[in-house]
């Protein structure tokens, strides 16, 4: 199974992330995000960041999670390539705990691709068939 793939949107870019579990699909969505910004194969896991979020439904959880990744990228000036996600269902929705690994941006070492302005709700989807499929479009 592919971990993620991109699809074309005129002004921006979209991706579908796959996973046998919801956790794995979210982890692969993290890879999809950082392969838009850089090439994750060139990012070493040196520093870990952890965060926790709660959201009312699966789509909102995906939105909030991706936003959180951008937040750590921008404020800590880091790129990430290794994602560990643990999602649990609660009475009010979903809880997500994540540990993400990466390193400080060094544009002499890391490939410089695109800046992501924001995550959009456009066509955003969390689908379960025999595996999980997450769909998102980001604003560049």
């Amino acid at each position: 199974m592919k971990r993620f793939e991109y699809f074309d949107v005129t002004a921006d870019i979209g991706f579908i992330a796959y996973g046998n579990t919801l956790n794995e699909a979210f982890e692969n969505a993290g890879l999809a995000i950082f392969n838009i910004i850089s090439d994750t194969s060139g990012i070493d896991s040196k520093i870990a960041k952890s965060f926790e979020i709660t959201s009312e439904d699966e789509v909102s959880l995906l939105y909030d999670y991706l936003e959180e990744l951008l937040f750590y990228h921008e404020i800590d000036f880091m790129l990430f390539s290794d994602f560990s996600v643990n999602i649990s269902k609660t009475d009010k929705g979903y809880n997500l705990k994540a540990t993400i690994n990466g390193e400080a941006i060094d544009w002499d070492k890391h490939e410089r691709k695109s800046e992501i302005k924001a995550i959009t709700f456009h066509m955003m989807d969390v689908k379960k068939t025999e595996h999980y499929e997450l769909r998102a479009i980001v604003d560049l």
Partner: protein, 482 residues
């Protein structure tokens, strides 16, 4: 029947979709677009004009401007005005890059004065004004300072040594919206804003050294201080991660609000709240704060542009008369007075990918320009011309004083990268005497001029329909991009 078949031609380059098209529409839709663009117009963008026309309290028309294209929720290149009594505000009607905008700086220099120094100017501008993904501004604010930036905008910048007091007179809103309240802005938005203040950004944002190539209206050009052959500088940039975060924060808040207030929406991305609600008032104050951030940002970059010219050319910026011509916001929501069926009404006007184009006499226009209408700045794409127009009475009558904002993308980034190579583009631009400096080859290929709609046709339609009239054409000599 396809939605486009319902559209009727009103006059040359103006089309209308009647409010009777569907029962939920509270206004008609209008498009200012030429026949060729109309044929190419996506059904999705037409549907978005209709969706916006269904929102509570919308006045007169849901408007598509000459560069209209599909956006998220609201189309890009669109204007929608809402009544203060029963209207709404929507972050989707402004977009992620709050107060993305354009600034034009003039000079008394000619090509002869800069020709031998253009390479050095380009290199140093690129170095002195941070740009590109993962770039930091040159200064690091503390938490109190970011609040001042959000509350006072360009005024903060000038008070801190970035630029001249008279600069403020020629910025839309004088570079500061008084509704702004930094205490409403989330910590996340502030944290994203702190390291990025004083940076250009990425994608279609640019800083260019340009030359005035053609004057269409001598009288108005004279009022704006523009002459053929003059060297000018254009900055296209926005509110960076700070504004993006404010938009994201409020998309989530409004997503809950529209359900709470039982507003019926066809698309979740139109999420909005009634103007008298707490959610709406908070968004307006946070949006204004992000808009102020963008004005401070462009003001700081102006200062560094002047410093760079001083350093390279060995003259003072005052001696080079590097005054700001004007600064426009093209993603913003504002309270304005407009005529609705012969009555003056206070409205909340959303402009998403739209430039204010107020006509003669409006008091919002700096006094020295008031008699001819405000300067309207429409940027082209990398390597193409940009334009200066002026606002008109027709814009006041028909489009809530608005026109287009630029050239919309027509090819995706991956298609652009397949079709164009960075080396070929650079070579082609060099042949035409244009220098380019970018953070990566990726951005040059992705931003290929061929990936965008032709800006010339966008301004032609604006001019021919009268919603903003041509004043001058400027051509790039040097481009720096993130």
């Amino acid at each position: 029947m396809a939605i486009k078949d319902e559209i009727k031609k009103v006059r040359d380059n103006v089309y209308e979709i009647p409010g009777s098209y569907n029962k939920k529409m509270r206004a008609s839709g209008r498009f200012y677009i030429d026949d060729e663009s109309f044929d190419a117009l996506e059904e999705g963008a037409v549907q978005q004009i209709v969706n916006v026309a269904c929102l509570p309290g919308i006045q007169r028309y849901s408007i598509g401007l000459p560069d209209i294209h599909f956006g998220y929720g609201f189309p890009i290149g669109g204007v929608a005005a809402f009544s203060l009594r029963n209207g709404i505000v929507s972050p989707g009607g402004v977009g992620f890059d709050i107060n993305c905008g354009v600034r034009l700086i003039k000079s008394n220099l000619t090509l002869e004065d800069v020709e031998d120094n253009l390479d050095e100017l380009t290199e140093k501008l690129f170095k002195n004004i941070p740009s590109g993904v993962g770039s930091k501004g040159r200064i690091r604010l503390d938490e109190n300072e970011i609040n001042d930036v959000l509350d006072y905008g360009a005024e903060w910048a000038v008070n801190n040594g970035y630029g001249w007091p008279e600069d403020l007179e020629v910025l839309e809103e004088n570079g500061r919206m008084e509704d702004a309240d930094s205490s409403i802005v989330s910590d996340k938005a502030k944290k994203r804003g702190i390291p990025q203040l004083g940076s250009l950004g990425s994608g279609n944002h640019f800083l260019e050294i340009q030359i005035v190539d053609e004057i269409y209206n001598e009288e108005v050009a004279d009022v704006f201080g523009l002459k053929k052959g003059m060297i000018v500088i254009m900055i296209h940039s926005g509110s960076r991660g700070c504004g993006h975060q404010v938009c994201s924060d409020y998309l989530r808040i409004m997503d809950k609000a529209y359900k709470k207030y039982k507003i019926n929406l066809d698309d979740r991305q139109l999420a909005c709240a009634p103007l008298d609600s707490k959610e709406a008032q908070n968004y307006i104050q946070a949006m204004a704060a992000a808009a102020n951030y963008a004005w401070a940002n462009r003001q700081m970059m102006t200062h560094w542009v002047r410093e760079t010219f001083e350093d390279v050319l060995g003259k003072s910026a005052k001696d080079m008369e590097m005054d700001i011509v004007y600064d426009v916001a093209h993603n913003i929501v504002k309270m304005e007075t407009h005529k609705v069926y012969n009555r003056e009404e206070d409205l909340l006007v959303h402009r998403k990918g739209a430039t204010r184009a107020f006509g003669p006499g409006r008091e919002e226009i700096p006094e020295k320009y008031r008699a001819v209408g405000q300067p309207v700045l429409i940027p082209g794409t990398m390597g193409t011309a940009s334009y200066v127009l002026h606002g008109t009475d027709i814009a006041m009558e028909e489009t809530f004083g608005s026109t287009a904002h630029g050239a919309g993308r027509v090819l995706s980034r991956s298609k652009a990268k397949k079709d164009f190579s960075a080396d070929e583009i650079t070579e082609d631009m060099e042949k035409r005497g244009i220098r380019i400096k970018a953070t990566s080859k990726n951005v040059i290929a992705e931003e290929a001029p061929g990936a965008y709609k032709d800006v010339d046709s966008v301004v032609r339609v604006s001019d021919s329909t009268g919603i903003a009239k041509l004043v001058a054409k400027v051509k790039p000599l040097a481009v720096t991009k993130g």
